[in-house]
Symmetry: none
Subunit: 207 residues, 4 copies
Amino acid sequence: MGVQERRLREKRELREEILEAARDLFVREGFENVSMRKIAEKIEYSPTTIYLYFQDKADLLDCLCEETLARLIRRQTELDQTIADPVERLRAGLRAYIEFGRKHSNSYQVSFMMPQPFDDPERCPRAHAAGEKAFDHLRGVLRECQRQGRIQVSDLEASARALWATIHGITSLLIAKPRFPWIDPDRVIDTVIAQALDGIHADQSSR
Amino acid sequence: MGVQERRLREKRELREEILEAARDLFVREGFENVSMRKIAEKIEYSPTTIYLYFQDKADLLDCLCEETLARLIRRQTELDQTIADPVERLRAGLRAYIEFGRKHSNSYQVSFMMPQPFDDPERCPRAHAAGEKAFDHLRGVLRECQRQGRIQVSDLEASARALWATIHGITSLLIAKPRFPWIDPDRVIDTVIAQALDGIHADQSSR
Amino acid sequence: MGVQERRLREKRELREEILEAARDLFVREGFENVSMRKIAEKIEYSPTTIYLYFQDKADLLDCLCEETLARLIRRQTELDQTIADPVERLRAGLRAYIEFGRKHSNSYQVSFMMPQPFDDPERCPRAHAAGEKAFDHLRGVLRECQRQGRIQVSDLEASARALWATIHGITSLLIAKPRFPWIDPDRVIDTVIAQALDGIHADQSSR
Amino acid sequence: MGVQERRLREKRELREEILEAARDLFVREGFENVSMRKIAEKIEYSPTTIYLYFQDKADLLDCLCEETLARLIRRQTELDQTIADPVERLRAGLRAYIEFGRKHSNSYQVSFMMPQPFDDPERCPRAHAAGEKAFDHLRGVLRECQRQGRIQVSDLEASARALWATIHGITSLLIAKPRFPWIDPDRVIDTVIAQALDGIHADQSSR
DNA sequence: TATGAATGAGCATTCATTCAT
DNA sequence: TATGAATGAATGCTCATTCAT
């Protein structure tokens, strides 16, 4: 039994090591420079070994995105337990989302900015599910605002999607166009959030 | 005389054919699968021939984006001459932007959703200039709204950027996540636009 | 156990096969016509396979030269143990050098007659080291002649270099200009060696 | 007649321009970076035009080498008229040869250090002839030394070739191995020349 | 569980050259 | 005389992946 456990733990560990290496390469060298070979070199295993833990590159990326998105979800959950006021929780959530994207820009790019394999729920089921979960949370907070009468939302589904789109806009544009004269990114971020909440008529009295 | 003209026309035509093929490959196979070779195969010329019309791959993509963005700018200019009311012009402009992105999704992707190399004004000077021109137009319309007292904007620069980010958000997300349950994309688009204009307190009396 | 050994041997053998093929292409088609692909075709492996044995083309060439130069050095060492008289050893060494160059003319060409990239110790460290070793040996023998009073050399460093240059001259010229009317190459070689030793006032009494 | 002359002159001029451009590229970018395209770009003509003046690349290089070697021969002829003493003339000629090689290292490399097309008198007849002419001159001076009893040469043909080989040695080695620790190239050159003349027992009384 | 060996397909780009005009 | 258009062949190298062990 101890042997089986150890084996299982070791297996999990190498898997994590692979993902970690891939993430590191993402951050250091950008998405397009992540290759199976380079990951293998980094962890000092043979490329073949990776295929014992992941079906193929798409699978690896899928898992990678899932893991990264899990952090976003975890952060969102933290805010649930920290901030009682739903509007404030929503505002903090939006800000956290943007910060998350800027911090893990390569993962964000893979998860949300590239159509190719990652929008296919069959090829990337985990990332897909995690993405939906993150969205669901956002919608939940918005619904809570609505339920408490803090926001007048006639169409929750549309508003939630619009809200997501809005914060995705500034997040992704800052990633894709870092050289654009943003003047002060933070000022623009503040403006986006303020406009978004204003736009859905959030009662921000407690602000 | 006629000979020269015909040659010039033929040359222009092949150039367009190359751009067309590239655009088509974008659409069909995604950006990363566009190679000089594939373009050449598609037009049934040798790869070398492409280099007679474009300096290199970056140049080709640059021209591709420029061409596409020119359509957006043309559309914006059309609206200038059609719609007198600045707020309505702004609203129509936002809608046109989103529609443009959805229609030319691959060009939009190349121009606005990919960090490397397209954010480098030195490598893609044409696309860069065209992108700025499009933004400048948006800002101009917003400024006009402000000038006529239809919108109270304390920080024009930040608001213009925020507005761009917002419509970019829905545009790019619809492209990157076409399988997401958008329910009705148009309803979400409407919501985004309404929220955006509300968020900057546009006087939409004439709506 | 036997398996591991056999694998190691096979690996070594393929490495040798690659070097052999490269050398052969040098001989047959000249340096500039040696490409990774042609080597691969010759050994009937894929080009990729070569990269399992050598880092890149420069590395392959570096190893090739090293291997060839090793034969020269081995020959020089042999003479050390065979010929006691230092002047005779020097004479035999010069002759061996020239013979070596004529026999392995393509390797000689790569090692000593081409400026780029082979003169760069960083790109071709092995060949570089081997070349210096061969020169050092020549200088050593000359120094021994001087020590025993058989040669009056006022400037050992300059003389050693001049001597090397001299035998390199006939070696490389016979390689580069095989069609020149040499009349009798061996007679010219003899003359060069005699002049060289005379020129440094070697006491050739025992000749 | 005037028209024909002008045409002929213009034709000669463009031919010279091409050769000049090629030579310049040699010097600036090294042999391997000289391509028909680059030459054409430099003179602002189309690549096709070059083929009106030269059969192919080998022909162009042949003419180029011929031209360069003509300078060496010219220099040698100059010395004939300047220096009366044949031994001194020989010494000056050797030095001039080495200086010539160092100054026009790329042409020297093409003419004397590369086996491939340039040793083939059928493909490069002009360079071949010019090379022989330069050698013939050297032999002539040596013969003159012999005739005046200043040098005891038993085998003129062998000695002349040996002498050529010797000065080619230092010339080519300085070109191919610029990073070798030559200490002081000029000192080595002096040593080579001194040894060479000593080696053939030149009466250097007038030195 | 892990790997060493191997590969087919692909990449952007450059080359010398030709042909019709 | 000069060229614009075009090309076939080639270059070094990297990729994700497979298979036998």
